[in-house]
Symmetry: C2
Subunit: 242 residues, 2 copies
DNA sequence: AGAGTCGATCTGTGATCTCGGATACGCTAC
DNA sequence: GTAGCGTATCCGAGATCACAGATCGACTCT
């Protein structure tokens, strides 16, 4: 059941086919994490255990654990007196803070990635960039957001810092639901793709300073575009129930 | 049942008296988190659900959720084919990485704390420092580790960056079980307390650069002392079952 | 005496059920 | 028409149970 006729985050997710050898909980967790990073769920959207269990075809037990993990990661928050879990609605102060942290963590990861990158990784990154360009040309927001995350994560993964990578993922988990709002800003795709191409070029030329600059610019531009669209979004919704 | 007659992490924890109005899960989570940060559990120590439920007097359900959250934070890891949860045994590469990240996050938090600190916070911090000094004088490792965390967290909390604070706590959660090993290094207390007093003085004089330097030195010294004692610890145990 | 095997006992996993509370909806009274 | 109340429904929290797999130990056979 979709509230108010709006699109439901679950609708973008296909039914979960459980692979054996992995726990249901870990698969649900991974699936929802990616979905949150890719902005499948709107800020303030509530995730009910029973609804989720119906959508995914499992009992509530593994879902509770997965959602609890996401809460621990900052990807969900307990909301009303009902203790329902919802996608966090970030304050402006939190947004600024996350931007600060992202700049620090991701520029560092990018600087390290310059050293550890090989031809095969570079090819994957170029592919992701091409897909993202195509998504931008066809205004395919879903594809754009997915390939955007793939593009960035491939770069950071090359830094070979698993703990750092985890922290960066946490920050994306928090801003993911908002990035979908940012891409509706005018000319967002164009400016963003400029930074991405600059990053790709810097990576190819092993220019650490240029890569860091491109990443920082991408983060700042996205934050700025987000600021433009966020005001109107918050004004429409009413989130201060708690 | 304690394996091999060694001290059990649960033994340092009193029985949990559940306060109503809060969920059992969140209280267990908070309790275990503090315990891990304070080094109550040894690296490699296994936390069984049923054992924990017996120790805390609840069913396994809230415990599973709490432990799963701690796993998500990096404070626990799934271990054997049995999927038992244990305190992580960090590799040397992970230790170096965490030290890098801690320097970045905590020096930044310290720099921000300089601005936001007031007289009442300063008094609390001085108190924590005194308690830590007394613990060092009496060789009380438990008290030392607890007040060490209180001292640092009070400083970082003054930065008023809740997200950053969460990331710092995660890093402490990972190194907590190891710090107890570091304090057994010769002269660790003396060197560490020197940094702490320097940090307190810098805070009082609002000297941001000195505070950052003191924090960085504290982290580096602890890492160095840890390196001295870690080798022998790993050699005794055998952790590579998986 | 040593190696292999069988069984008891541990482990986490997931489903189901009950409980208390919050929410939402419809009815009634004004 | 609207405000207020009561009930039906939905919510998460936690306990319990059944199950499958891993581990450990004792016992047996060679």
């Amino acid at each position: 059941m979709v509230r108010g006729g709006e699109s439901d985050g679950w609708s973008r997710l296909g039914p979960l086919t459980l692979k054996e050898g992995e726990t249901a909980q870990s698969q649900i967790y991974a699936r929802l994490r990616d979905a949150l990073i890719s902005g499948y769920f709107r800020p303030g959207e509530e995730l009910s255990l029973r609804r989720a269990s119906a959508a995914l075809g499992t009992s509530v037990t593994p879902i509770r654990e997965a959602l609890r993990q996401l809460e621990s990661d900052g990807g969900l928050e307990v909301f009303g007196g009902n203790r329902v879990l919802r996608v966090p609605v970030l304050s402006e102060a939190e947004l600024i803070e996350i931007r600060e942290i992202r700049v620090k963590l991701e520029s560092f990861a990018a600087a390290q990635a310059i050293n550890g990158i090989g031809p095969s990784q570079l090819r994957l990154i170029s592919n992701a960039c091409s897909v993202m360009q195509r998504a931008a040309d066809t205004d395919d927001a879903d594809l754009y957001l997915e390939s955007n995350w793939r593009f960035h994560s491939l770069i950071y993964r090359a830094a070979e810092r698993p703990v750092l990578m985890g922290l960066i993922e946490q920050m994306w988990l928090r801003v993911g639901p908002l990035i979908r709002l940012a891409v509706t800003a005018p000319n967002h795709f164009d400016r963003s793709m400029e930074s991405h191409r600059a990053a790709e070029r810097a990576l190819r030329e092993r220019d650490g300073a240029a890569l860091e600059a491109a990443i920082v610019r991408d983060i700042s531009d996205a934050a700025s575009d987000l600021g433009k669209t966020l005001g109107s979004f918050v004004r429409v919704k009413n989130f201060n129930r708690t």
